[in-house]
């Protein structure tokens, strides 16, 4: 393993999950030399590697109906042009993995392209990147972007583990594919997803959009990370006294969260048909691990459950997408996957696994190719300077209580009574706490905590500005939609962030 390094390349991709891997493929196919840096290891890191992404996968003839259905249910912020592009690109590109991913065949012998299992998918993408000559550097978290005097982005700087030595990559363009953030909720696979890209982009002058739509949760057995919801489709829920709770139907989050605020909640999976029980280990190989290891049969015995917040991962906020190439509105800076906002196609509801996965694939293709074209127009590969601020320049001074600040961020962004059941008074109180935390972090070396704190403040500010209920953003003090707010909300700025609705809906 190389320790510290300094490399020059055409395109730098930051983040080695699904979106970053697809961005590297897109940039390489467009003729660029590509370096990809990943905080963990490309193949196991991120929320795709540990799950099983379906993709929004609709045959051409069925697309108008699928798009119309999505538009009708998603709160009026999204744009059919983006949906058409995503469906078209996903349909075209996903089967090209057939030589590295063993697509399952159904009983009719037909390949099932849309649903891929996470570890196998990421292993296949790693193989592809190695085949096409992408330089992958694992265990190399990026910490700040490099910027030229004219404002264009020319690379990034970070540290390498183990050892913590510095690295620098100078490039003609950068793709941020750093994922969303769950604010360290124990959502499976999300520990590294601390919103680093949001902070880096904002420091470069980019805006964010959709940050108020963060109230998405996934059920898991209590104390575990196993946010695999499929088997809970047949769950029965109980309170501590053993009384059956009326939780069921398409949305269990709000009734389950309300019950969890009253006390512990238990579930069993006794209604699961026998043939499905037999298939569960080879559908979701990790789902039964906790039960087997604890000696609990979930089909006959009750077990405690919880909800883990998904933040901007299955929520939809992120860096605003300003053009068809997924440019971030800053020359040389492009975004892909959950690092980008998804409000322009998902609307005001969760993108779920399917739509967000199709976006990660297609935005990766577009951002990678766009970055390659940008880099081809520019010969400049040196001279850009680091622009990172909070969390990178420790000044000494009083010791900062990092666990206490993380607890404040999590209280604001994950607590059911604050982040799910929302109210202007509570949102403002959370923001005041985190404004204080942000100023404390200024002279620290706590970069990931700074990124989570910044992300939380943008989310709270957007949630306060959206003084209405729309989609997954439900305000107890404004329980109806406000037609004047049928538009996206942009946020920008670091020390004094500002939120404002877009003047009018923007077409793609």
């Amino acid at each position: 393993m190389r320790a510290g390094f300094s490399i020059t390349t055409d395109v730098l991709v930051i983040g080695g999950g699904m979106a970053g891997a697809w961005a590297a493929i897109g940039a390489r196919r467009a003729g660029a030399s590509v370096v990809l840096v990943e905080k963990g290891w490309l193949g196991t890191s991120g929320v795709t590697a540990t799950a099983g992404p379906g993709h929004w996968w609709v045959a051409p003839a069925d697309r108008p109906a699928a798009i119309a259905k999505r538009l009708a249910q998603s709160g009026g912020l999204n744009d059919p042009v983006w949906m058409e592009r995503i469906l078209e690109t996903t349909w075209e590109i996903l089967p090209t993995l057939s030589d590295v991913y063993d697509f399952s065949r159904d009983e009719q012998g037909q390949p099932r392209y849309r649903a891929l299992r996470g570890p196998e998918y990421m292993r296949a993408l790693r193989r592809r990147l190695e085949q096409i000559g992408v330089t992958i550097i694992d265990h190399a978290p990026a910490q700040e972007l490099l910027r030229h005097a004219d404002g264009s982005i020319g690379g990034a700087r970070g540290i390498r583990h183990p050892g913590g030595t510095d690295w620098q990559v100078e490039s003609g363009a950068v793709v941020l594919a750093t994922g969303g953030t769950s604010f360290r909720s124990h959502l499976l696979g999300s520990h590294n997803n601390t919103g680093d890209g949001y902070l880096m982009a904002a420091e470069a002058g980019a805006q964010l959009s959709g940050m108020e739509f963060t109230s998405v949760y996934c059920i898991a057995p209590a104390r575990t990370t196993l946010t695999r919801s499929m088997s809970f489709a047949f769950a029965t829920y109980y309170d501590e006294a053993g009384q059956v709770l009326p939780i069921g139907g398409p949305d269990i989050t709000r009734p389950l969260a309300a019950a969890l605020l009253r006390g512990p909640v238990f579930a069993d999976l006794a209604r699961t048909p026998a043939d499905i029980r037999a298939q569960v280990p080879t559908i979701s190989p990790n789902f039964l691990l906790p039960f087997r290891r604890w000696g609990i049969d979930p089909y006959t015995r009750k077990f405690e459950v919880t909800l883990h917040g998904e933040g901007t991962i299955r929520g939809i906020g992120g860096i605003a997408v300003e053009d068809r190439d997924c440019g971030a509105g800053v020359p040389g800076l492009f975004v892909a996957g959950d690092a980008a906002t998804r409000d322009q196609f998902a609307g005001a509801i969760s993108g779920g696994g399917n739509i967000n996965s199709a976006w990660a694939l297609s935005s990766g293709q577009w951002a990678g190719a766009g970055a390659a074209r940008f880099a081809a127009r520019s010969t400049r590969r040196s001279g850009a300077r680091g622009i990172g601020g909070t969390g990178l320049h420790p000044v000494g001074g009083p010791q900062i209580d990092a666990p206490a600040i993380l607890a404040q961020v999590q209280d604001a962004m994950l607590s059911y009574d604050k982040a799910l059941f929302r109210d202007g008074v509570r949102l403002r109180a959370s923001l005041a706490v985190l404004d204080q935390a942000w100023s404390e972090l200024a002279g620290s070396d706590l970069r990931e905590l700074a990124a989570m704190t910044a992300s939380a403040r943008w989310s709270l500010l957007a949630s306060i500005t959206r003084a209405e209920s729309r989609g997954i953003h439900q305000r107890e003090d404004h329980s109806q939609p406000d037609p004047a707010l049928a538009r996206r909300i942009r946020v920008h700025g670091l020390d004094r962030p500002i939120a404002a609705p877009e003047p009018e809906r923007q077409a793609a």
């Binding site: 963990g40 590697a49 299992r117 489709a233 990790n286």
Partner: protein, 116 residues
Amino acid sequence: MIEFILSDACNACGTCAEVCPTGVFDAVPGQPPVIARAGDCQTCFMCELYCQQDAIFVGPDAERIEGFDAQTTRISGLMGEMRRHHGWDEWALGGHYPNQHWRMEDVFARARAAAE
């Protein structure tokens, strides 16, 4: 959270230290890796998947080390279950563990139908 590495099953290949997304292990040449930062373990079970020796065990509790006994766990048959059910490595052969992930949408559809 990471519980233990079976030192006599480990072949010191270093793969777990390489693939762990949060840097829990320190590789030691010719020796089993050291669990150096258990508190950073995100309980994702990826190290188990990539351990061809089935020498690593992760406890389900993401918040604390539960203290699973290595020898008891070893004879329980729980080592390597993640890798086996995935049909990973040699388990891809023979067709006993096919990747049925694609059936997930059918399971959800069955549940919706059962509820109506």
